[in-house]
């Protein structure tokens, strides 16, 4: 086992991990604000992928435009999902478990809807040529798709940080996460902030979907399930609600998965099972994850 093999595995791991991280950030942000594990997040990502697919293939848009437009359109899909599925529950003060089950329902609904409308046969994502370039340092290969994922991921996370910690809307988002009622008393239109949160989270899902598709260019209505669930594991492992936790968790899960396949090829077929072991282990040993928020005491 030589050094360049290890280096290659690390690059591959970061490449996959950056994707998980990006999906996990969307998960954790929606959770951070309204305490809802949006299990449909992976499916929203799938919706984003298909939107980008049609924008690239039918409208022949240049990829940066397709990426941004698919993010915006998917953002509105997220807002719509919230208005139809989650908001009525919120308004009635439904228990958390009901929200959770609804999220699973939304997930099934989106998958089935796309199967009915577009069919279940996988389609080839029209990967723009630029992403197929590969760079070679010694014996280590790194693709443009990987580099783009890391750069665009960093940009997205920076923008998110700016919004959450430097803007008035971000302040309201952080306030809602601890105290819904009192945030209303500040004059905040809570429904609007939550819509904005869903918009951001879903736009982020679309961007991660695009990045996913340029690395794994076969898309179908069920493509969001496994990445979604693994990103969920990453978010929990990193500490759900924490953006940094989601990034670190995503990278670790991605690297681990590649390492299992690369260094322990006999176990390769158990990779998904091993990732879920991490989830079980995290929940048993440290349910708040690596960077999880401490529950602050009420005075």
């Amino acid at each position: 086992m030589d050094l360049s093999f290890i280096a290659q595995e690390i690059i591959n791991g970061i490449s996959l991990g950056a994707l998980y991280a990006l999906i996990a950030v969307g998960y954790t942000m929606v959770y951070g604000v309204i305490r809802l594990i949006n299990f449909a997040h992976g499916d929203i990502m799938m919706v984003g992928c298909f939107i980008a697919y049609f924008l690239l293939l039918k409208l022949k848009l240049p990829w940066p435009l397709a990426l941004i437009l698919s993010a915006i359109l998917t953002g509105f899909v997220g807002v719509l999902v919230d208005r139809i599925a989650y908001k009525p529950l919120r308004d009635r003060g439904a228990a958390r478990i009901i929200n959770l089950i609804t999220a699973v329902g939304v997930s099934f609904f989106l998958e089935s809807l796309f199967v009915v409308v577009l069919g279940g046969v996988p389609r080839a994502f029209p990967v723009p040529d630029i992403f197929n370039k590969e760079f070679c340092i010694g014996n280590v290969y790194i693709s443009m798709a990987t580099i783009a994922t890391i750069i665009i991921g960093l940009i997205c996370v920076s923008i998110l940080f700016y919004i959450v910690y430097k803007t008035k809307i971000g302040m309201a988002m952080r306030a809602i996460s601890v105290d819904f009622e009192t945030t209303k008393l500040m004059g905040v239109n809570v429904d609007r902030i939550i819509s904005f949160t869903f918009f951001l989270g879903s736009a982020l899902a679309a961007i991660s979907g695009f990045m996913w598709a340029i690395q794994f260019p076969s898309i179908d209505p069920y493509m969001g399930i496994i990445p979604g669930v693994k990103a969920f594991v990453a978010a929990v492992f990193g500490g759900i609600g924490s953006v940094i936790g989601a990034v670190v968790g995503g990278l670790i899960i991605g690297i681990l998965e590649i390492f299992i396949v690369g260094f322990l090829p006999d176990l390769a077929q158990y990779r998904d099972a091993l990732i879920f072991l991490i989830l079980i282990f995290t929940l048993l040993v440290k349910p708040t994850g690596l960077f999880g928020e401490k529950l602050e005491e009420k005075v």
């Binding site: 008035k168 302040m171 309201a172 952080r174 306030a175 996460s177 601890v178 105290d179 009622e181 009192t182 945030t183 209303k184 008393l185 500040m186 004059g187 905040v188 239109n189 809570v190 928020e293 602050e296 005491e297 009420k298 005075v299």
Partner: protein, 238 residues
Amino acid sequence: MAEKEILLNVENLHVYYGVIHAVKGVSFKVPKGSIITIIGANGAGKTSTLKAIMNLVKQKKGKVIYNGEDISKKGTHEIVARGLTLVPEGRHVFPNLTVLENLLLGAYLRNDKEIKKDLEFVYYLFPRLKERKHQKAGTLSGGEQQMLAIGRALMSRPDCIMMDEPSLGLAPIIVKQIFDIILKLREEGKTILLVEQNAFQALKISDYAYVMETGKIVLEGKAKDLLNDERVKEAYLG
């Protein structure tokens, strides 16, 4: 009373939680520039009344008129925009936000240039908050949190401030400070609706008061008169 303009007028307010009838037809008036108190035991429906006025809980029946406008169907943020605010029971500062962020969130609806000036006014009222402005609100003491909750409410530039049990769980010296501040706010032209279990202190600074029991107003009168009322003395002044 009658000669003063009525700022807040609550008529026949009813609140239900499921089948529980928590507020059973409460009516009262808050004249501009006055301090009005509602006293009553735990569970009398005082907090529910305030929350219903802000539309944090649904009112089943009744009317809330603020500044001549029916606000009973308005969203909470729209009510705040009209100059009415509530300092909730138990402070409810945002523990994960800094003191400064808590105050700025109070000014959420404002975009004017005077936010800084109002911030200085709050710091003048509560110098402790200035010392701790970059500290997370969750690390403040109970008294400091109450100051922050009041300061935060002031940041929306309200005309009428409702305060739910501002003295609850505080040391006597802090309680005195809080009541001094309430008097100072009235001098600034604010109208105050106070809900208190600390009936003695509350009645001492109020103009007029209502006594609430099991969802109804059972007694009302000038605060001075209630302080000497035998029934009030026995039930609330100990």
